[in-house]
C-alpha cells in the first residue's frame, strides 16, 4: 500500500514537473489505468503453513491482490500453522508490529484457512474477504446435457443442485439468500426455474412459448430480469421474484445477458444495433435504451456490474474471448485482461470468476482485476462454465 502511494506520488511529481497545465487530467487517467490490470500486488511472505492450509491461503490471497515473496522483499509476514487447527499471525514489517494474531477451531481445516485469509484481507486491505463465499455454475457433458452446481468460490465442495440430465444454463443467485434462478430444458423448452437450496423446492417462474433464459435478480431480490422471445424476438423483460407483473423493457432484434446496476436503477445487457453487437442499458422501470461506449472491445456480451457500482465486466470476442473491464460511467475505454468468458463479480468488486479453456472443456478461474493475477478453480466433472458469484 505504501509502495503504491509512493509510486503514485512519483508519477504525480514527475507529471507536475513536466506539464503543470495538464497534470490534473493525466494523473487521473494514469491512476485509472494503473488500477486495472497493472496494480502491483501486495508482497507477503508465508511461513509455517503446509498442505491444504498453505494451498487455501495462497489461493485466497493471490486472487485478492497479494503476491508471495521472500521475507526480505515482503511488506507483511504471515506466520502460522495448520496442525491441529489453523493458528496465524500477520506482522507489518514497515510498522514493525504484529497486526493480527488468531487461532481457529471447528468446521474443516479448509474453512479455517479461508477464515484466516478473510481476516488477513480485512486487516491489510480493510475489505471483507471472499474466502467463505459461494458460487453456482453449469457443468456440461460432451452431449450437451448438464447440471447446475454450487461450490465454494475456489471450486471445492461442489454439489449438484439439479439432476434432470438436460440442457441447463445461466444460474443466478438471489442476493443474500440460498436460492437460485436458472434455465433448464427439463420440460422440453428453455424455461426459467426458481430453486430454493434450503428447502430443495423449485418452480417455473418463466415458461412462456419461445426462449426463457438469462435470469438476473435485482439487488433487493424483489425483481428478476430475463430474456424472453414470447413477443417474437429475444428481448429483456422484468417481473416480480415470483414471475408476476411481467413487463417488456426492450424491443431490439436480439438481446441477451441482462444484469442489474447495484442501485437497481439500470439493467445492462448485450444487444445488436445495425448488425453490430453492443452493450446497452435501460431504466429498470422502462425507458429509452442507452448504448455504452465499448470502443476497442469488439463484440461485447455478458456484462456484469460490480457491486460497488464502479465497473462493468464483460466478454469481448475478437477471434478468441477475453475478459474486459471498464468504468461503468464510460469515462475510460475497456481494458482487456485475460482470455476467458462469462465474468461474474465477487462481493469485493475486485475479483471476478470466469470460465476459460478449450471448447467443450471449460474450467472456472478466479481473477483479480487490479493485479491481473488469476488461478484456476478445482474442477467439477465435465465442462464448467457460466459461474455466478453469490453476493
Amino acid at each position: 500500500m505504501k509502495k503504491l502511494i509512493l509510486n503514485l506520488l512519483t508519477i504525480t511529481l514527475a507529471t507536475a514537473a513536466l506539464d503543470l497545465c495538464h497534470a490534473q487530467n493525466e494523473i487521473q487517467i494514469q491512476q485509472q489505468i494503473k488500477v486495472l490490470g497493472t496494480t502491483p500486488p501486495i508482497p507477503v511472505a508465508l511461513d509455517g503453513f503446509t498442505g491444504e492450509a498453505a494451498e487455501v491461503l495462497k489461493f485466497d490471497l493471490y486472487v485478492q491482490g497479494f503476491s508471495f515473496v521472500t521475507p526480505d522483499a515482503a511488506q507483511y509476514l504471515i506466520h502460522g500453522s495448520g496442525a491441529g487447527g489453523v493458528t496465524g499471525s500477520v506482522t507489518d514489517k514497515f510498522a514493525n508490529k504484529m497486526i493480527l494474531s488468531r487461532s481457529y477451531n471447528g468446521a474443516s481445516l479448509r474453512r479455517q484457512a479461508h477464515a484466516f485469509a478473510d481476516d488477513i484481507v480485512q486487516t491489510i486491505q480493510n475489505k471483507k474477504g471472499i474466502g467463505q463465499t459461494k458460487i453456482a455454475f453449469k457443468s456440461q457433458a460432451p452431449g450437451g446435457n448438464g447440471e447446475i452446481y454450487v461450490a465454494d468460490f475456489d471450486g471445492y465442495g461442489a454439489q449438484p443442485v439439479t439432476s434432470d440430465a438436460t440442457i441447463v444454463a445461466r444460474p443466478a443467485w438471489v442476493p443474500g439468500r440460498l436460492a437460485l434462478y436458472y434455465t433448464s430444458y427439463a420440460r422440453g423448452n428453455p424455461d426459467i426455474f426458481y430453486h430454493s437450496l434450503s428447502s430443495g423446492q423449485r418452480r417455473v417462474v418463466a415458461g412462456y412459448s419461445g426462449l426463457n433464459t438469462s435470469a438476473a435478480v435485482s439487488p433487493d431480490g424483489a425483481k428478476v430480469a430475463m430474456i424472453l422471445s414470447k413477443a417474437g424476438s429475444p428481448n429483456v423483460w422484468v417481473c416480480n421474484a415470483d414471475g408476476t407483473n411481467l413487463k417488456r423493457l426492450t424491443t431490439g432484434i436480439e438481446d441477451s445477458s441482462p444484469c442489474w446496476s447495484p442501485n437497481g436503477d439500470w439493467i445492462c445487457f448485450a444487444t445488436k444495433k445495425a448488425e453490430r453487437r453492443r452493450l446497452a442499458k435501460v431504466p429498470t422501470g422502462g425507458g429509452e435504451v442507452q448504448y455504452l461506449n465499448t470502443t476497442g472491445a469488439a463484440n461485447p456480451t455478458e456484462p456484469d456490474w460490480s457491486p460497488d457500482g464502479k465497473w462493468i465486466a464483460f466478454t469481448r470476442m475478437a477471434g478468441d474471448f477475453d475478459i474486459c473491464v471498464m468504468p461503468a460511467d464510460g469515462s475510460l475505454a475497456p481494458t482487456a485482461l485475460v482470455a476467458g468468458q462469462n465474468p461474474s463479480w465477487a462481493p469485493n468488486s475486485r475479483t471476478l470468476i470466469f470460465n476459460r479453456g478449450s471448447a467443450g472443456r471449460q474450467m472456472l478461474s478466479v481473477l483479480d482485476v487490479f493485479t491481473k493475477q488469476y488461478k484456476d478453480c478445482h474442477r467439477a466433472t465435465g465442462s464448467n462454465s457460466q459461474p455466478a458469484w453469490a453476493r
Binding site: A169, G232, R277
Partner: protein
C-alpha cells in the same frame, strides 16, 4: 387544486355533449329543396342527357400482411401432444452466415419445400430448432439461435404459413451437428432444423 379537479370532468362532459348534438343538427338541417339539383356527388338528380358509362370495377389487389422481423408472438404448442418426425424435413435444413440470423436467398428452395409440406398436411405443425457454432458466448448464442429459428418462421410466414403453427426452440451452441472446431464444422453448425409435428 380541488376546484380544478371538480371542474375538469364537467368541462369534458360539456364538450362531449356539444360535439355529439352539434353533429346531428348539422346533418338534419340539410334538406334538399324541391326543384333544385342536389349537389351531392352521385346524387340521383343528374341531368338525363349524359350517357351512362360502364361501371368501373376496381382491379382486385392482393392482400398483404407486412411481416416486420421480431413482431409476431411465439405460438403456444405443447410438444407433449405431438410426435416429432425429424426425418421428413431433414433435407431442408437451412444454414446461416457467421453471427447472422438472415435467411440467405439460396435457402429459399428449402423454405418453399417446408412450406409445401405444411400446406399438404393441415393437421401438422412445425418445430424449428435454431443452432449456432461455438464462436460466441453461451447466452449470446442462445439468443442468436432463437433469432435464427424466428427468422425461418418469418420466412415461412411470407410463404403463407400461419405462424401459430410453428414453435421455435434455441439450443445455442449446445447441440452441434459436427463436433469439429474448424470452419467446415462451424458452417454445418450454424443452422435451423425443421421437425414436422404430427398430433398424437
Amino acid at each position: 387544486m380541488n376546484m380544478n379537479k371538480m371542474i375538469f370532468p364537467l368541462v369534458v362532459a360539456l364538450a362531449a355533449t356539444l360535439a355529439s348534438t352539434g353533429c346531428k343538427k348539422g346533418f338534419t338541417k340539410v334538406t334538399p329543396l324541391p326543384g333544385e339539383y342536389a349537389h351531392t356527388p352521385g346524387g340521383d338528380q343528374q341531368p338525363p342527357t349524359l350517357p351512362a358509362s360502364q361501371p368501373m370495377v376496381p382491379e382486385p389487389m392482393p392482400t398483404t400482411t407486412p411481416i416486420a422481423p421480431g413482431t409476431t408472438p411465439t405460438a403456444e404448442i405443447d410438444l407433449n401432444n405431438y410426435n416429432q418426425d425429424r426425418a421428413a424435413l431433414a433435407a431442408y435444413t437451412v444454414h446461416f452466415k457467421f453471427d447472422s440470423a438472415v435467411v440467405q436467398d439460396k435457402e429459399q428452395a428449402n423454405i418453399t419445400s417446408v412450406g409445401q409440406a405444411l400446406t399438404a398436411d393441415a393437421n401438422a405443425k412445425l418445430l424449428i430448432e435454431g443452432h449456432c457454432d461455438e464462436r460466441g458466448t453461451e447466452e449470446y448464442n442462445r439468443a442468436l439461435g432463437e433469432r435464427r429459428a424466428l427468422a425461418l418462421r418469418e420466412a415461412l410466414q411470407k410463404n403463407g404459413i400461419d405462424a401459430m403453427r410453428i414453435k421455435t426452440i434455441s439450443y445455442g451452441k449446445d447441440k452441434p451437428a459436427d463436433p469439429g472446431h474448424d470452419e467446415a464444422a462451424w458452417a454445418k453448425n450454424r443452422r435451423g432444423e425443421f421437425i414436422l409435428l404430427h398430433p398424437k
